[in-house]
């Protein structure tokens, strides 16, 4: 009995070691950092413990801007990208001809290099010495006034940001939803058809509940992914996100650690913990809502 218990722990050891070193230890360390006041990076000493770091971060206008940006991105891109993905998946599911072609086309962004994607967006949106960018040319063609999407007004930058994010996350969601739709047993639709169910009702009462677990999975991971947004912002606006007014919470954490004004692990840790609490709260709310609406 005793030896089998020992064996069990032995088998778990690789996973425990790995998770412990790379997940649990850093998490605890970050929590400790976030409450150490006046921490000195060089001497590894601090003046004591307290909540000053949190108070500093929460009063930092750059952090507040980052929180605002992050929330905007989350609130706009998660519902829109999921909705678009559902529409595309439904359309893909309902066509017979050229289905594989369209499926491939919609999946292309997923396998395309991020830098190449960034470049394409530059050509579309960035005004240079030679051209105003494709989108601006289009706006001007229809008689509108061009706008600098990369260095112009906040709403224009936010628009490009959300457009980019949705475009990047769409393929994966389309893929998941297409397979979810395809896995719904055709008999349910036949049964509904014989009972004279209208198309809208079939969608609401049968299709949606049937794919709800997958939809829910996409919403949860979508929320978490959007809260962790950073690299896409850098791809569009460069590394000085504070200067561009387009920083995110993760970007703020990074800047506090390594940025030009960096070297403040305590502030970075406090911001990271705040992000952690936000994501945890949202995910808990999601889970509670899902209990009523998701059918496994």
């Amino acid at each position: 009995m005793k030896s089998s218990k020992f064996k069990g722990w032995l088998y778990l050891l690789p996973a425990i070691l790995f998770l412990g070193i790379f997940m649990v230890y850093p998490l605890i360390d970050v929590m400790i950092y976030s409450v150490e006041e006046g921490y000195n990076f060089v001497s590894q000493t601090s003046d004591g413990y307290g909540l000053f770091n949190y108070s500093y971060v929460l009063h930092d206008p750059y952090f507040l801007q980052a929180v605002k940006n992050t929330f905007l991105i989350v609130v706009i891109t998660v519902p829109l990208s999921t909705g678009f993905a559902l529409l595309v998946a439904l359309a893909l599911n309902s066509i017979q001809k050229l289905r594989n072609l369209f499926q491939t086309v919609y999946f292309l962004p997923y396998v395309t290099n991020t830098l190449a994607v960034g470049l394409v967006f530059m050509i579309l949106f960035k005004p240079t010495a030679y051209t105003d960018g494709m989108v601006n040319l289009l706006i001007q063609f229809f008689g509108g006034e061009g706008v600098d999407f990369i260095e112009g007004p906040y709403w224009a930058k936010m628009f490009v940001m959300c457009f980019y994010t949705i475009w990047v996350v769409l393929p994966f969601k389309v893929l998941i939803l297409t397979s979810a739709l395809a896995s719904v047993n055709q008999d349910y639709y036949n049964a509904a058809k014989i009972d004279g169910t209208s198309k809208g009702r079939i969608f609401r009462r049968i299709t949606l509940p049937m794919i709800s677990p997958m939809l829910f999975y996409l919403i949860i991971t979508g929320f978490i992914g959007a809260f962790k947004a950073y690299s896409d912002e850098v791809a569009l606006f460069g590394t000085d996100l504070n200067g561009a007014g387009m920083n995110t919470i993760v970007g703020y954490v990074y800047d506090m650690l390594y940025g030009t004004a960096g070297g403040y692990p305590s502030y970075a840790s406090a911001a990271a913990i705040i992000l952690f609490v936000i994501v945890l709260t949202i995910t808990c709310i999601n889970l509670m809502v899902s209990k009523k609406t998701v059918h496994y």
Binding site: K193, T197, P209
Partner: protein
């Protein structure tokens, strides 16, 4: 409501383009199902039974032919206006809805002047649930019920809108043996109580024989025989039907008719008056062989399996084609296990002759 099929044919394009040509799933169905009867569509897998059912309910469009419900042609009508109820092989109950919601679902679809008030929907759902005896389980989800209970819910859902025709696709194949017996009685009872013309598809001959008013035996998309269960068994039109019906299966031999006598192997078995000399297939029902020391049919004895009421005698014979030869005899007449041979006296009524080429029945 009687159902009339006129030259109903369904062809599917062959997926293998090299071979080309169409696959004919249902070939020239032409028969009438009388009002209020329970019909069994019987055949081996892939013979087109389910296709025929899907044609009748409107999920598939026929390539040729017509379908009438009563006097009205429904060939080109969509399924929802035909007034059919269909029970799927896997029941297709919506897993996220309760029993009550599942049964009410077809009624909630009604629109316009057919629209029903909520209380009426609830009342009818309750009534349908009562008919199939699941009115105590209305709040359950399908996953919380046994296979038999799910089956009843599926039937209730098909019945709740009072269809003109009820269609059942392999209704018992997902149930265990005991439940199958019980449920088939249940289907018979419900059909009698409602008087709805019912067509059910099965590959299980015992199931078809036990509850159908009429059996339609199919093979490769073609109707082989339409008759009452006992007649199909006693009077098969060809070798396929004879082999397909009956457990244990009919014993098949290669034989020859000479001067009005049937010869199997070296045995001069019975007189077959009026049959010209020719090679034949001989089918003998297991219950048509009675052990008799003087019997004309001389066989080797393999085993004697006691089953209580009667006994199954496993035997061999030189002219046999079927692999397992069995005779069902009364317990009192069973041969001793120690014997090496056994002689039978065949009952001429249980002996069927079939043409060696066409496998059609030769009557005598």
């Amino acid at each position: 409501m009687k159902v009339v099929l006129k030259h109903l044919t369904k062809k599917f394009p062959n997926r293998n383009k090299k071979i080309g040509g169409d696959v004919i799933a249902v070939n020239d169905f032409d028969f009438e199902i009388p009002d209020g009867k329970l019909i069994g569509l019987l055949g081996p897998s892939g013979c087109g039974k389910s296709t025929a059912l899907n044609l009748i309910c409107g999920l598939l469009e026929p390539t040729e032919g017509q379908i009438f419900f009563g006097e009205d042609e429904v060939t080109n009508l969509p399924p929802e206006v035909r007034g059919v109820g269909l029970v799927f092989q896997n029941y297709a109950l919506y897993p996220h809805m309760t029993v009550q919601q599942n049964i009410s679902f077809p009624l909630q679809n009604l629109k316009g002047d057919k629209k029903l008030p909520k209380e009426e929907i609830a009342r009818r759902a309750k009534e349908a649930a009562k008919l199939v005896q699941i009115d105590g389980l209305l709040e359950r989800k399908p996953s919380e019920m046994s296979g038999g209970q799910q089956q009843r819910v599926a039937i209730a859902r098909a019945l709740v809108k009072m269809p003109k025709v009820l269609l059942l696709d392999e209704p018992l194949s997902n149930l265990d043996a005991r439940l199958r017996l019980q449920t088939r009685e249940e289907i018979r009872r419900i059909q009698r109580e409602t008087g709805i013309t019912t067509i059910f598809v099965t590959h299980d001959q015992e199931e078809a024989m036990s509850i159908s008013d009429l059996i339609v035996v199919m093979k490769d998309g073609m109707i082989q025989q339409i008759d009452e269960p006992q007649d199909v068994y006693d009077d098969p039109v060809n070798l396929f039907v004879a082999k397909f019906l009956g457990t244990p299966a009919i014993n098949v031999f290669e034989g020859e008719v000479k001067n009005g006598r049937l010869i199997i192997g070296e045995d001069d078995v019975i007189a077959v008056p009026g049959v010209a000399d020719r090679k034949v297939y001989v089918g003998i029902r297991p219950e048509g062989l009675e052990p008799d020391p003087e019997g004309s049919f001389r066989c080797g004895l393999v085993n004697v399996e006691v089953m209580g009421r009667d006994t199954s005698v496993v035997y061999t014979h030189g002219g046999a084609i079927s692999e397992n030869l069995r005779a069902i005899v009364g317990s009192g007449k069973r041969p001793a296990k120690t014997e090496k041979t056994v002689n039978f006296r065949p009952d001429p009524l249980k002996v069927h002759l079939f043409d060696h080429e066409t496998e059609e029945r030769i009557r005598f």
